[in-house]
Each structure stands twice: as C-alpha cells, then as structure tokens.
C-alpha cells in the first residue's frame, strides 16, 4: 500500500489497531473525538471491544481491568480528561499493567481552550498520580511518526508492563498528512503474560492477583526498588532523540512535537542569515534524552534555546541536562497560540534577552 491522506486522530486510532489494540475505553473530549469515533466503528467491526465510558475515570479503570485480564488496551483523551485519568495511571504503574494512552493536548489550566498546546508536558512526564512511578512518554512531530510510535507502543508497554503515553497536541490531532501505514517497526521479544487474571482454569494451581497494595513498608520499598530497576532499563533502552544540523552550531534549539516543525522552518531562515542553528528534538519525553547534552560537540555554541508551546516546562529538563555548561534561553507561546517561525528567528537573534540561566 502506498501513501494515503489521513487525519491525525484517525491515524492514532488506525495505528493502535495495527499495533494490536483489543479493547478501547474512552470518553468524549475535544480535540481527540475522532479517535473514539473511528474505533467505535472499526474496532467493533473486527469483533473487538469498544466502550464509551461514563467518565475518564471509569475509562482508565476499564483499561486497568482489560490489562489485568491480559489484553492490549488503550484510552485516549485530552488535557482535563488526562487529569482525571491520573488515578488509574498510578494504579496501572503500581500493579505493573501495560496500556497505551494517547493524549491530544489543548490549552489550560482548567477548562482552558480547545486550541493546540504543549502545556501538559509536566502532566505527562511528571504525572499527577500518587507515588514513585513513571509513564514512558513519546512526543512525535508528524502524523507518520505518531503512527510508527503507536504501532510499537503496545510492545513497549508489554515489555515493561507499564503504561506508554503518546503525547501530541490538537494541531497534530486535527491536521491531515499523507502517511504510510505499512512502515515496519522494531520487533522485540515479549514474554507470555503469565500474570493475567483470566481464571485459574488457564493456570491451574496458581492464583493470579493484580494488586498495588503493600501494607508492610519493607515490602513496598522492595516493590518500589523493583519498579526503579525497570525505569532505569527503560531509560537506557527507550530514550529517543533526533539531532538536526548539529555540525558546529552557533545556537541549539530544543523543541518537540509541533514546535519542532515550526523550529525547522526557523532554522532554514536563520541559515539564510548565516547563523548556524542545530536542533535537539526529544522524541521520548520520559525518559528525557539528557545524555546528548553531555556529548554535544559544539565549540562555538553561544546558547541553547528551549522553545515550547507553554511558558517553560521542558525547560526544567533542559536546564538539568545542560547542567550549567551553556547559556540556556527560553521562548514560548501559551494559551493555544502556535508561534510563527519568524518569532523563533527573532528569539535567536535576540538570544540575550531570552536567557534564563
């Protein structure tokens, strides 16, 4: 099959099906409605499970149930809805259950707007659930990359027995691009789901219990440390980043998702002015690609500009990763405003006014 034209949200739904989605649970919220709408038709046509839940809270807990029973399951939502799912996400992590969550960001806080934004970077990478846990988060830049990551996301979730979030903004959800659904993705060895609560008749003599409760402090700490080992492994193996134009740059931009697209245009415009600007584009937002900041070879670097569609969230990760080596500046627009490439050009031209640290 060649390339077809597809809307971002529908591509999310189709790619999830190609990734092996067996059960979807969701609740309507703009700007991601085409995801459940698409699946309510096509997933059911394949004899799989689709339920429109009574709330986002219920939807993520249905996901918890489906994952507990050993099925490939997913929910999709947007900013205020993802806020409601945090309870379920920490339980999924605590009980070591895999699932995929697609988050199509809109402006906030509160009801905010329905325009594209990146102001849920912290919500995705830090989370709002209780306890020591991490969600593996990817922030793709194009619909094609969203598809490729989603097709692999269920494997990654199963491998680590942990939720995987694919974080895009409303622009990627609502735009159309030509895409190839058939691009092969990395295959990995996945063990049997020998934890699934699917009845002792399927595993005689052994009860399967899905649980996140450990009342003894030592037992819970043991569990916490075992989760940490898993997160360390994910940090070592799942960190993804694209380095663009990094040959002796004057400046380096750090941007992800839609913002990286805008920055690509800005970098071309700056090249016309003989200003060499490279870009670090984190694809995995957690784990964050900190190590590229350490190994960066840029003897003439004047500064690093973090560019986001929020007022400075990934900036914290950039500052930590930079560890004081270079001057770091920030440019961001909030509230659903997508910056123009010229604004980014201007921020580089007046970098000194943008310096944070």
């Amino acid at each position: 099959m060649g390339k077809i034209l597809m809307k971002g949200n529908e591509a999310i739904a189709r790619a999830a099906m190609l990734g092996g989605l067996e059960a979807f649970f969701g609740y309507p919220i703009t700007p991601q409605n085409e995801v459940p709408e698409y699946l309510s038709r096509y997933l059911l046509e394949e004899g799989k499970v689709f339920v429109q839940a009574e709330s986002e809270v219920a939807a993520i807990n249905m996901v918890y149930g489906a994952a507990a029973a050993g099925f490939r399951t997913m929910t999709s939502s947007s900013s205020p809805g993802i806020a409601l799912k945090q309870e379920g996400i920490t339980y999924l992590c605590g009980s070591e259950l895999p699932c995929v969550i697609s988050s199509v960001m809109r402006g906030g806080p509160g009801l905010g707007s329905i325009q594209p934004s990146q102001s849920d970077y912290n919500q995705a990478t830090r989370g709002g659930g209780n306890g020591d846990y991490h969600v593996i988060v990817f922030g793709p830049e194009t619909i094609q990359e969203t598809i490729d990551i989603l097709k692999e996301a269920f494997d990654i979730a199963d491998y680590y027995r942990n939720p995987v979030m694919v974080l895009v903004d409303g622009l990627i959800g609502q735009m159309m691009e030509s895409v190839d659904l058939t691009k092969p993705v990395k295959k990995r060895f996945l063990p049997e789901k020998d934890y699934a609560a699917n009845g002792t008749k399927n595993h005689p003599g052994e009860r399967h219990i899905i649980n996140s409760l450990y009342l003894e402090s030592n037992e819970l700490e043991h569990h916490n440390l075992s989760l940490k080992k898993k997160y360390d492994l994910a940090t070592a193996n799942e960190t993804r980043v694209e380095l663009i134009n990094m040959n002796d740059p004057d400046y380096v931009i750090v941007a992800f998702g839609t913002m990286a697209r805008v920055c690509r245009s800005a970098i071309e415009k700056l090249a016309e002015k003989n200003i060499r600007v490279g870009m670090i584009r984190p694809i995995s937002l957690w784990p964050f690609p900190s190590s590229v900041f350490e190994t960066m070879d840029a003897p003439h670097l004047k500064g690093i500009l973090c560019v986001e569609m929020n007022l400075g969230m990934m900036l914290t990760d950039v500052l930590v990763a930079n560890n004081g080596r270079h001057s770091v500046g920030f440019f961001g627009r909030a509230g659903g405003v997508v910056p123009d490439p010229d604004e980014v050009v201007d921020a580089i031209l007046h970098f000194n006014e943008r310096v944070v640290k």
Binding site: V49, N61, A66, S95, G199, H208, N211
Partner: protein
Amino acid sequence: MEVKYKKTKGLTDSPLSYCPGCTHGIIHKLVAEVLEELGVLGESIVIASVGCSVFSYRFFNCDAVQSAHGRACAVATGIKRNLPDHVVFTYQGDGDLASIGIAETIHAANRGENITVIFVNNAIYGMTGGQMAPTSLIGQKTTTSPMGRMAEVHGSPLHISEIFSQIDRVAYLERVSVFNPRQVRNAKNAIRKAFTYQVEKRGFTMVEVLSSCPVNWGMTPVDSLKWIEEKMVPVFPLKVFKDKGVENNV
C-alpha cells in the same frame, strides 16, 4: 468417618482480616460456597474494592484484581467485555459503591454488564474507623457525625437497591441480610441466583447484604445483629426488587 461439614474450596486458607463479630466472614463464605457449587471457581475473577474488604483478593480462591476506590464496576467491565464467558464479580462496601463509586456502579448496571455485584451495606466506613456513610441511618452517631446523622445537614440514607430497581438492564436485584440463620439461607439463595443469572448471561445482577460493624457501631456482636433487624431493616426493607427470570417466565 463421614465428613458432614467442611470449609468450602471457594475460600483460601488465608486468615480473614475482619473484626470479631463482623458478618463479612459469613458473606464471604456464602459467595465462595456458591462459586464452588456452580463449579465456576476456575473461571471466576473477583474485583476487590477499597474498604474493609480490600483484602478479599486474598480470601476468594480464584483470580483477583484489586481496584481503586469506587472503580470496581469499571474494572469489572474491562475484564468481562474481554472475557465474556468468565464469571466476574465485585465485592464492595457502602462507601465504595454508594459514595465514591456510584457513577461506575450505576452505569455498569445501565449498560447491563453481565457481572455480579455483592454490595455489603453496614451503614458506616469501617476500614477508616467509623465515619458516616451515605447509608448511615438518621440519628446514627459516627466519627464524622458525632451528634448523629441529621437529614437537613447530611442528607438521608441512600437507598441503592431502590434506585437500581429503576434501571432497565438490571436482571436481578435483591436486598438480604445475615442477622439470623434463616436470613443467611435467604442470602445464599439470592447470591446463588445472581451468579446463576450471570452464567446464563442475563445481565447485571446485584445482591445488597445488610451487614454488621460491631467495632465501629460500638456494640457487641449480638446487639449488632439485633440493630440490623430492628433499625436497619425498617429503613432498608429486605425484598426482591427485580427478577428478570421470573418476569420472563410470566
């Protein structure tokens, strides 16, 4: 020598964590016996809720999933939709079901999820130390209603079975209790019917069981059973609210 009575295979050997005189143990036994008698233990999955019965995943001798507070019916939905031939049931108290989890429960009922809900109503939050529940009686003293529950301040006891009896896709709904041997037998019949209907794929089934909490009610176990009979039953009458099996036979 002939064995006349022995522990059901539906329960594990794990010691129950319930307080002395609490009737959770009886209700556990009834559910476990029914699962054994129906021969469905191997395909059963219990959803443990948050509250006194949080450890029920240790006690029922089948697969188990511990859920977040109030979300048991959502979790059960996620399992049952994927495993439609399995027996999926939740075991929830009044705080879990009637307060924080009423949305999940009422919508599971309205979708006609083919699951069984064992709803244990003891009119109080037991696990957290005796706070007022949605089902606490008017005048009932709890740690958060120390002058007694007042309708004008706290609202009146929520009648869950009466509310759920209005839902079309509920196949079986009965309120029972366990305050004397006759009521225990009735309760077991209701639980058996609920699980049988689930096996027959008739839809959502729920059994509300009026249960005791001697420690948090501040009563002896015997007085607690009397309190169920004399104080709770007049507010929460024992009856079959819905039986689609009978309706269909008429």
